[in-house]
């Protein structure tokens, strides 16, 4: 089986300078329509959409705390977004960010709880980060192995493995990693304070956003400024041509997926060390999928991903206020996100040229 995902990667230089303005306007329109449609949804439920959108903006840009919350949501989406965008450039569709994040969180919590308890911050945090990256990489490694040895389509395996990862985390927080003091609540013991990421005063915002942004730059640099990146883009554009140019295609697929898993795993570690402090069955839930959406909204370009991840982060935060403010389920923001992406996907071909 070989479902070729044609044309998923898009070459960086397709925009001509002169044509830039018009597509940008078009793109803005495309982004507005979903908000209008979602507004109709809201009216249906007796919520005033204009008021709601205003309060959404206010709750996110109104004060430092709100803005910090948006960046907090943006951080994991950025990383799982990279975990989708990087493989997409190599012609792979990795939807496993969700599971890779969960296993990354599991690995880093395990290390933090059992080995790193007495470590100072400067050594403990990087080690915990490495553990998270390793966890994500291992999980992505399963997909990579199945792709290379079994020729199984990575989209389907990584998606199925997400469910397995969720249950694996459940298995651990109900079992080996359960906090003995938790009175039967399923979560892990808290990690040592020295292992927590430094926080900006007056918010919950932690250093994770800096790590994520740095990694965005690294991935961008690798893809567009290095030989290996050139090879990855060739592979993503036409794997037959890559094969005929002497690239070790399977090896590249393998390492790209491993790298993607590591990025998502780091997101898991950041969730633990940044916000939660302990592993719960719900840690990082849906960030993998949000990252995937963000990557596609950015046409898998790392720099544009920074923007789309921020937008999705904002919508997620707004989702919380939606639930509090209007009594709608927070999951209804998925409708909005999906609508945005529908319009992107639906108009993509023409905007790309």
């Amino acid at each position: 089986m070989n479902l070729q995902a044609d044309n998923i990667a898009l070459h960086g230089r397709t925009f001509l300078v002169g044509d830039k303005i018009k597509p940008l306007c078009l793109q803005a329109c495309v982004l507005l329509i979903p908000f209008v449609i979602f507004g109709v949804f809201l009216l249906f439920y007796g919520v005033n959409p204009v008021q709601l959108y205003i309060s959404m903006v206010r709750s996110t840009f109104g004060d430092l705390y709100g803005f910090g919350e948006v960046l907090l949501k943006t951080t994991p989406i950025l990383l799982t977004g990279l975990a989708a965008a990087l493989p997409a450039r190599a012609g792979l569709i990795n939807v496993g960010g969700e599971g890779q994040l969960a296993i990354g969180a599991l690995f880093s919590t395990w290390c933090a709880v059992f080995y790193l308890e007495r470590f100072p911050s400067w050594a403990g945090i990087p080690l915990m980060l490495a553990a998270g990256a390793l966890g994500g990489a291992v999980w992505a490694g399963i997909t990579a192995f199945l792709k290379i040895k079994g020729k199984l389509n990575e989209t389907i395996t990584s998606l199925l493995l997400n469910y397995v990862a969720t249950f694996t985390v459940g298995l651990f927080v109900h079992g080996l990693l359960k906090d003995p003091k938790s009175f039967n609540w399923p979560f892990s013991p808290e990690i040592a304070p020295a292992l927590r990421l430094p926080v900006v005063d007056g918010t919950r915002l932690h250093a994770g956003i800096a790590i994520a942004l740095a990694l965005v730059l690294v991935v961008w640099f690798i893809l567009y400024k290095t030989r290996i990146g050139f090879r990855i883009r060739v592979l993503g554009s036409n794997y037959l041509a890559a094969e005929r140019a002497g690239f070790k295609v399977n090896k590249m697929y393998f390492w790209v997926l491993i790298a993607a898993g590591a990025l998502a795993g780091i997101a898991g570690m950041i969730e633990i060390a940044g916000i939660e402090g302990r592993l719960r069955p719900t840690t990082g839930v849906n960030y993998g999928y949000l990252g995937f959406l963000a990557a596609w909204m950015a046409w898998n370009h790392p720099l544009r991903l920074a923007v789309s991840a921020f937008v999705l982060g904002m919508i997620s935060v707004a989702g919380n206020s939606l639930e509090i403010g209007s009594g709608l389920p927070s999951s209804s923001v998925y409708i909005l996100m999906a609508l945005v992406l529908f319009f992107m996907l639906g108009s993509g071909r023409r905007l790309k040229r």
Binding site: L10, H11, F230, A242, R244
Partner: protein, 512 residues
């Protein structure tokens, strides 16, 4: 030359001033044509003369930009093809319109709709067998199309067209290009049967001897215009046809020096008792012996699908030998493209549009993939260096390569072929594996490419040339091998054999 009223009455189809433009290119200019029942009308011309455009207008794929088509004296529109089909025009395509994953019967059922959603399989099978017996077109209704060779596929296409109710005109597009000489004879016999049964036959070809053998009427096209026409009664002269096809400025022949040098050249690549397995685990070639020699062009003949693709892929490390040895300069190779490249092998694949073109990348960027070395500049690539090498390359100039900053996915097929070839040549490879270099190209480009291959061989490269054009193989090769029945036959000296012999081996193997 106006078609006279009188003859028009007996026509099934007649065109008047048919014109088709693609942008600034006029592919067909004011073509007048008539197709009569029970007669073979040959349309003769070189590649790129406008034959296929004309036939696509007759089959309704293209809508003419000017001119009229009459059937039974009335103006008709044939676009889209379904209209042409309903009016009794059948077409046997060169790249057959068949679905490999389905059986012969299913493929025919797709084309022959006799109403009703339920398939009357038994009835259809009987009709297939009846028609195939009548015209000597043996096909097995239950075989899968992927199991058939090209000759069988063509027979299936013809049966399909004949089974469509109301077919009066059958257009054949280069029908003999997929056939070996022996099959051509039976094909011509079948054409004769069809003619006797009153079908109007259009034969599109560039082979003059076929025209001389069977046509009742000939129209010669060059650069989209009619340059000559004649009927059998008026007499068909070979010289006149050639002159009409080629025009005044015929091309110089490909220059080839020292073709029959007697001294034994050095072997650079050798396969000993090699067996190659195909994609579905089937044995494609068994116990083959092959050696490529420095400075020699080895031509590979064979019916399409006889293992050409697999052999080429094996010689570039894309596929491993399942048994046997492959050595380059005495060193044993394993299936690893990189090490083949390092050993000096270059590969121009059968379908460069699919296998070599990277959408969104420029010609320059394509050059560093198995062409100009990917010279490092810090973490990246030294593009100015690559550009310099490309601009100074004699080969790129000789091939009239398009601008280095053009995007490769926006190039025409001919330009893609030039790009891929230029890339392979720039490397000055020790061994060049090249598949169907002139497929679908116009005569000028073909000539350039052939000349480049000869020059390359003279500089010492060992060339393995796959081609379906026996003329090309005889013209260029120092030695010929034939792939047939999972065997590799030969090598033969072109001077010691002929096309008929090679054709026989392609079809029947060594046994005779």
């Amino acid at each position: 030359m106006k078609v006279t009223r009188k003859s028009a009455d007996t026509c099934i189809l007649r065109t008047e001033g048919l014109t088709k433009r693609f942008g600034s290119l006029i592919a067909n200019k004011e073509i007048d044509l008539e197709i009569k029942p029970g007669s073979i009308h040959a349309i003769l011309g070189e590649n790129g003369a406008g034959k296929s455009t004309l036939m696509k207008m007759l089959y309704g794929v293209y809508e003419p930009d000017g001119g009229k088509i009459y059937m039974d004296g009335e103006v008709v529109s044939l676009h889209p093809p379904i209209k042409a089909k309903a009016k009794g025009i059948g077409m046997v395509f060169q790249d057959f319109r068949l679905i490999p994953a389905m059986t012969v019967l299913d493929n025919i059922a797709l084309a022959v709709s006799d109403g009703g959603w339920r398939l009357k399989r038994k009835q259809l099978r009987e009709r297939i067998l009846k028609v195939s017996a009548k015209y000597g077109l043996s096909v097995d209704p239950d075989a899968y199309v992927w199991q058939l060779d090209l000759g069988e596929r063509q027979r299936l296409e013809i049966v399909k067209v004949l089974l469509v109710p109301g077919t009066r005109i059958i257009i054949f597009d280069e029908p003999t290009s997929v056939l070996v000489p022996q099959e051509v004879e039976s094909f011509l016999r079948m054409l004769d049967l069809l003619r006797k049964d009153g079908y109007g036959i259009v034969l599109i070809t560039h082979k003059i001897n076929e025209v001389l053998a069977c046509a009742d009427q000939v129209t010669v096209l060059r650069s989209g215009q009619i340059t000559f026409r004649a009927t059998r009664e008026e007499g068909l002269e070979e010289e006149a046809l050639i002159a009409a096809m080629m025009g005044a400025g015929t091309l110089k022949p490909v220059v080839k020096h020292a073709g029959d040098a007697k001294e034994e050249r050095q072997t650079v690549l050798r396969i000993e008792r090699g067996t190659i397995i195909g994609n579905h685990g089937e044995t494609v070639l068994k116990d083959i012996e092959l050696s490529l020699k420095q400075g020699e062009i080895t031509g590979v003949a064979g019916i399409s699908g006889s293992g050409q693709r697999e052999l080429a892929e094996t010689l570039f490390g894309l596929r491993g030998l399942s048994s046997g040895r492959l050595t380059i300069d005495g060193k044993e190779m394993t299936a690893d493209t990189k090490s083949f490249m390092d050993a000096g092998v270059s590969f121009v694949s059968e379908d460069p549009l699919r296998e070599s073109v990277i959408p969104g990348f420029t010609i320059l960027e394509h050059m560093v993939l198995d062409g100009i070395p990917m010279k490092p500049k810090r973490a990246g690539i030294d593009w100015p260096y690559v550009r310099r090498l490309l601009e100074n390359s004699e080969e790129a100039r000789a091939l009239a390569l398009a601008d280095a900053d053009r995007r490769a996915d926006q190039l025409s097929g001919g330009n893609v072929q030039r790009m891929v070839l230029a890339r392979a040549l720039i490397r000055q490879p020790k061994i060049l594996i090249i598949s169907y270099p002139s497929r679908g190209l116009d005569i000028g480009t073909t000539h350039t490419i052939q000349q480049q291959l000869v020059t390359l061989a003279e500089r010492g490269t060992a060339v393995l040339l796959f081609s379906e054009d026996l003329d090309e193989l005889f013209k260029l090769s120092d030695r010929l091998i034939v792939l047939s029945g999972k065997r590799l036959l030969g090598p033969y000296r072109p001077s010691e054999t002929n096309a008929a012999e090679i054709g026989f081996r392609m079809l029947k193997g060594e046994s005779a």
